[in-house]
Assembly symmetry: C2
Homo-oligomer: 230 residues x 2
DNA sequence: ACAAAAGTGTTTAGGTTACACCCATGA
DNA sequence: TCATGGGTGTAACCTAAACACTTTTGT
């Protein structure tokens, strides 16, 4: 079935940067392209927006088709539409950022179809198709800046986590060491964490206290900024 | 001439929030719709992206067609694509923010075609077509937040301006009074202004010193934030 | 001399930074 | 008892905030 319009229309796609936090490293999910253009290159997961489909819905659908992930954190990043960014024709991509913790990430691998999905550490990326290198740079910049004034970074952790785990997320994303005492003082002063009675078990050192984020829908930190010292 | 594709494609439009700063007030440019849907309602200026046209280019072209404004400050805001936002069919709009000072704004009115353009103060907006109320709220929020960590607000002023003029921009956009001494201390401590030898003339009070922004392409303030007291 | 806006400093409070040692557990 | 990461306090510094009067010009 063909679709005919009075004026030309660009293709409309969504692409998703899916970040995961595993073994103290920031990973990103890429798909190996099996067809031209950029055959054999790695690309961000994504696809075309369907008729009467909301942008976020399209991003969630594509993500679920590729990874079986549902209900994860997702937000719009930026729209790219330069002519020539896709050799097949004028294509506008509304890009998104999604975040998963390591448990969710393991579920993703299990449910994926046969396509060539792979997680890459942000430190060692392969060559990317299209303008996806630029998109990824944009996404990392957004993640870094939002880490400082939102609780976005908590999406990388399980519901219960230790302060050291939280600090490792901040250090890895911001790319610098943070003083342990200052980090704890600041995070605890925000009054967004509740200490739990339990502790991490089966470690061969003093077991760490577990915390959980209070205020499930807490997104923005009122007037406070999470800017940390080195 | 018809355009036929194998899969349906949404319409792709750009809409522009054009803010101006005139007589100590924040204004926004709207267009009265002459045809259905939303005939008689006011809407943001905008239009469809043409074939092989970059998004920013499309926004600049639409803006120039409506206002004859060229080379003004413009940045992408957000993309809206909910089905149902346009009764004519599935339409994705990549929205933008543009800023002009009062001299540029006066040029705009002169060059406009016969269409029903009007500047509205942000305090007294008419009913808006489509989801443009939501878009405008999103744009104002972006403007407010970027005022605090970029020099975006300087776009509202001429090349030479007084500190009081700058402060008025901040007060109007942020919607609160700022202490004069603290504002000046903070702005001057950023070392981004150069005091000029000239002063504002033909005022019936002590003439104010003129300043100019140094570093023409300065966009972000390294590590400093413009968060002001009440 | 008056009206009107320009311009200027100090004190206080609170947040940021730098920094080093003891604690609890499993092996 | 040793190795490993968990957990804690204080002092110096810096920035933000509150606050009122004098100066310069045109009329």
């Amino acid at each position: 079935m063909k679709h005919t319009y009075d004026f030309p229309r660009p293709m409309v796609a969504v692409d998703i940067i899916l970040f995961a936090w595993v073994d103290s490293r920031l990973l990103v999910l890429l798909v190996k392209r099996g067809a031209a253009p950029f055959r054999g290159y790695w690309a961000l997961p994504g696809g075309f927006v369907e008729e009467n489909e909301a942008l976020e819905q399209a991003a969630r659908r594509e993500l679920e088709e590729e990874t079986s992930l549902k209900g994860i954190y997702l937000e719009q990043l930026y729209s790219f539409g330069d002519p020539g960014r896709d050799p097949r024709g004028h294509a506008v991509s509304i890009t998104h950022i999604a975040l998963v913790n390591s448990a969710q990430m393991r579920g993703a691998a299990a449910g994926s179809d046969a396509s060539a999905l792979e997680w890459f550490p942000m430190k060692h990326l392969p060559r990317l198709a299209f303008d996806h290198k630029e998109i990824l740079a944009c996404g990392l910049a957004r993640l870094r800046s939002k880490l400082e004034y939102t609780t976005m970074g908590f999406q990388f952790l399980a519901r219960r986590f230790t302060l050291t785990e939280l600090q490792e997320v901040y250090e890895a994303v911001l790319g610098r060491k943070i003083d342990k005492r200052n980090f704890r003082k600041k995070i605890l002063s925000l009054k967004i964490l509740r200490a739990l009675p339990d502790r991490r078990e089966n470690v061969r050192h003093r077991p760490a206290r577990l915390y959980t984020l209070v205020g499930k829908r807490l997104a923005k930190l009122k007037n406070k900024r999470l800017v940390f010292s080195f």
